[in-house]
């Protein structure tokens, strides 16, 4: 039995004539924190959507927690947390309504964790989703994704709109969640500094293909550069 939680093998995806993913191979081992790097349009969001079964792959295969991503079982879904890049809530719902609504679907919802995050991140629980700022919306989405204590957490540019304090808290949360090495986290980001702080593995996506994947330390050792410089060098290669 493999210990890879997420497996993408030869994944292809195209929108009309535009080929977005061209045979992506990527594995995410259990307990790792993987940062997915890539320039705009590299295919990060598309790959993530294929991995969680929001998009159907045109070729290859995506598996998550042993299930085919397109036909995840309810039990597997209960073990996945996902924060999309573009977050949409029903604007009339208050934060506490959103929590209540989302919690009702999950048998293992941790109300204590949810309440603590809402307090710590100073999320206005009585405010309606439509009136939240973009950063607050992102915080709410993260809370809703982690409150059922998923085994796999997949986040698409989760810290893009967070203020410095919230970003620090978010990164700490990632470290806490991944702490014992039981949970697996995959997140795409442009913020290499964040990635260096929490990730132990990096995958670089360029023009729909993974050009580098492995331990962060190995990358630094190979290139003798920091992550940002390494990424830029790979991009221009």
């Amino acid at each position: 039995m493999t210990d890879d939680v997420i497996v993408a093998a030869g994944v292809e995806k195209r929108f009309g004539r535009t080929e977005v993913l061209r045979g992506v191979d990527l594995t995410v081992p259990r307990g790792s924190v993987v940062g997915l790097l890539g320039t705009n349009g590299a295919g990060k969001t598309t790959l993530i959507k294929c991995m969680v079964g929001l998009l159907r792959v045109a070729g290859g295969q995506c598996r998550i927690l042993g299930d085919d991503a397109w036909s995840l079982s309810p039990e597997t879904k209960a073990r996945i947390g996902y924060v999309p890049q573009v977050i949409s809530f029903f604007p009339w719902m208050r934060v506490r309504d959103l929590v209540r609504y989302t919690a009702s679907f999950y048998p293992n919802w941790n109300e204590e964790l949810c309440g603590r995050l809402i307090r710590d991140w100073e999320i206005p629980a009585d405010q309606r989703a439509g009136t939240l700022s973009v950063g607050q919306t992102q915080k709410v989405a993260i809370v809703l994704a982690v409150a059922h204590e998923p085994d796999v957490l997949i986040l698409d540019e989760p810290a893009a709109a967070l203020d410095p304090l919230a970003r620090r808290q978010f990164l700490q949360l990632i470290i806490d969640i991944a702490g014992p090495g039981q949970r697996t986290i995959l997140f795409s980001t442009h913020l290499t500094a964040d990635l260096e702080r929490v990730a132990d593995r990096v995958a670089v996506l360029k023009s729909g293909q993974v050009t580098w994947s492995g331990l962060l330390e190995d990358l630094k050792e190979q290139t003798h550069l920091n992550l940002e410089e390494s990424f830029l060098e790979m991009h221009h290669a």
Binding site: V52, R56, S73, K77, V86, S88, R100, A103, P107, T131
Partner: protein, 462 residues
């Protein structure tokens, strides 16, 4: 306004407007086109207020879109989020202006000055209504709307005579211009903190500046009478509380109830029918026949609306798809998710259509009891069959065309819903023919829905 219950009530026009919004564009043109036909005896004699109110509705659509462009928070702040292009607002404005000749044709040889004054006034009020959603600014469009449907009433004659007087017409133009500038200024300065910011029904009992805080609203909930009223005015929150009760069994029904609990405005569609169909029924009683047409075609506006109720119910779900698509990641199988969503749409459609039918029956009994016998007649039976075919057909078309662009769908919705009715006019009005035509359209509608499911809904959810 210190009374929270009144504050709740004061949001109803905006909620109504929201419910109507997708229909407004095509409805406006429909009204411009159909009303002069139905009121042919008044054509060319004085203003056709139906056409003008259609123009006002369209002005509302343009204003609403302008507000969306100005307040496109996500487009401005969220990386990668698509922005609403300003060109769309420009095109809508051009269409609005281009509709003027159509209106002039509709009203016949009306004097230009009073016509301009009325249009200007109605446009200003529609813009202000959209920007501030206040009762006051809603009064004028509603007034024109209702007077339009009264036919050759004395009231309409008096209003027409007054507006045709040059000093009054010029005063109206000046007043409207100032009003429009004021509303435009409000719109351009609008921020997320502005009282009129939230588009629709998001601020029940909160939107009014004088109300201030939510504290008063919380007090209202402790008052049983007011709480009951709020449960009506803010039903979604109330239903959400009940539907998301922890520990409830997780069967198909409870899951559907939970999915549906996030839908707001279930009463908006019913009230829309009430508001629009009542005058239509009235009008139908006064001038019930199209020259050479079938009797049931005199109910065209009513039937169109009836057919659209189902389509719009489905459209609400389709519009929510961006939000709902990630719901598929909540525990449950993919096929169950689609089955549950389909059932939700079916339940809501059945409820809205049945609710509208009951409303219409009650309304007819109150407003036009003389029209009641034909409700049970063959004509009405044929009309209902035609409308049902149109409903299924328009829903299928809406879902299918949603793959393209929402505005395209919205624009096409009304003519699509009317197609079976027009088709029927070319046939003899026998029951088998009606059943055949309606069934044909229903089959095409179901086919389109299935094709949309196969091509679009199942595949790319993101």
């Amino acid at each position: 306004m210190r009374n929270p219950a009144l504050a709740v009530a004061s949001t109803i026009p905006q909620r109504l407007f929201s419910g109507l919004r997708p229909a407004l564009g095509p409805l406006a043109f429909l009204m411009m086109g159909v009303n002069p036909l139905l009121n042919s005896q008044s054509h060319g004699q004085h203003f056709n207020y139906g056409a003008i109110s259609g123009f006002a509705l369209f002005a509302g659509v343009v204003a609403f879109h302008a507000k969306q462009v100005v307040l496109d928070t996500k487009g401005r702040l969220l990386p990668g989020a698509p922005r609403i292009p300003l060109a769309v607002a420009g095109i809508m404005l051009l269409i609005y202006l281009a509709a003027m000749p159509l209106l002039v044709h509709a009203v016949g040889p009306a004097p230009l000055l009073p016509l301009t004054a009325v249009i200007w006034l109605v446009t200003a009020s529609a813009l202000h209504f959209v920007v501030r959603s206040s009762w006051l600014s809603a009064v004028l469009p509603l007034l024109f709307f209702f007077t339009a449907l009264k036919g050759d009433s004395a009231l309409q004659m008096r209003v027409t005579a007054a507006v045709e007087t040059p000093p009054i017409a010029w005063s109206l133009i000046a007043f409207s211009s100032a009003w429009m500038m004021y509303a435009g200024r409000l719109l351009s300065r609008m921020t997320e903190e502005s009282p009129g910011y939230q588009p629709i029904g998001l601020r029940q009992a909160r939107w009014n500046r004088s109300l201030g805080s939510t504290g008063e609203v919380n007090q209202v909930w402790r008052d049983p009478t007011r709480a009951r009223w709020l449960a009506f005015a803010a039903p979604a929150e109330h239903r959400l509380q009940r539907a998301t009760h922890r520990g409830a069994s997780d069967n198909l029904w409870t899951r559907c109830r939970r999915w549906r609990s996030v839908n707001q405005r279930p009463y908006a569609i019913a009230v829309m029918v009430l508001l629009i169909s009542a005058p239509n029924l009235w009008m139908t009683r006064n001038s019930p026949r199209l020259p050479g047409g079938l009797p049931q075609l005199s109910l065209m506006p009513l039937l169109t609306l009836f057919a659209l109720i189902g389509a719009f119910t489905g459209l609400i779900y389709a519009q929510q798809w961006q939000i709902r698509s990630t719901d598929i990641l909540k525990p449950g199988r993919r096929e169950d998710f689609f089955r549950e969503m389909g059932l939700c749409v079916a339940i809501d459609m059945a409820r809205n259509v049945l609710g509208a039918a009951v409303l219409l029956a009650v309304l007819t009994a109150l407003v036009a009891p003389a029209s009641l016998p034909p409700l049970c007649s063959r004509h009405m039976l044929l009309a209902v069959i035609m409308a049902s075919g149109g409903m299924v057909f328009s829903l299928g078309s809406v879902v299918w065309f949603l793959r393209l662009r929402l505005p395209v769908v919205v624009g096409m919705c009304t003519p699509i819903a009317q197609l079976p009715l027009f088709m029927m006019s070319a046939t003899t009005a026998s029951l088998p023919t009606a059943l055949l035509v309606a069934a044909g359209f229903a089959v095409i509608g179901l086919g389109l829905t299935y094709d949309a499911y196969r091509r679009w809904l199942v595949t790319d959810l993101g």
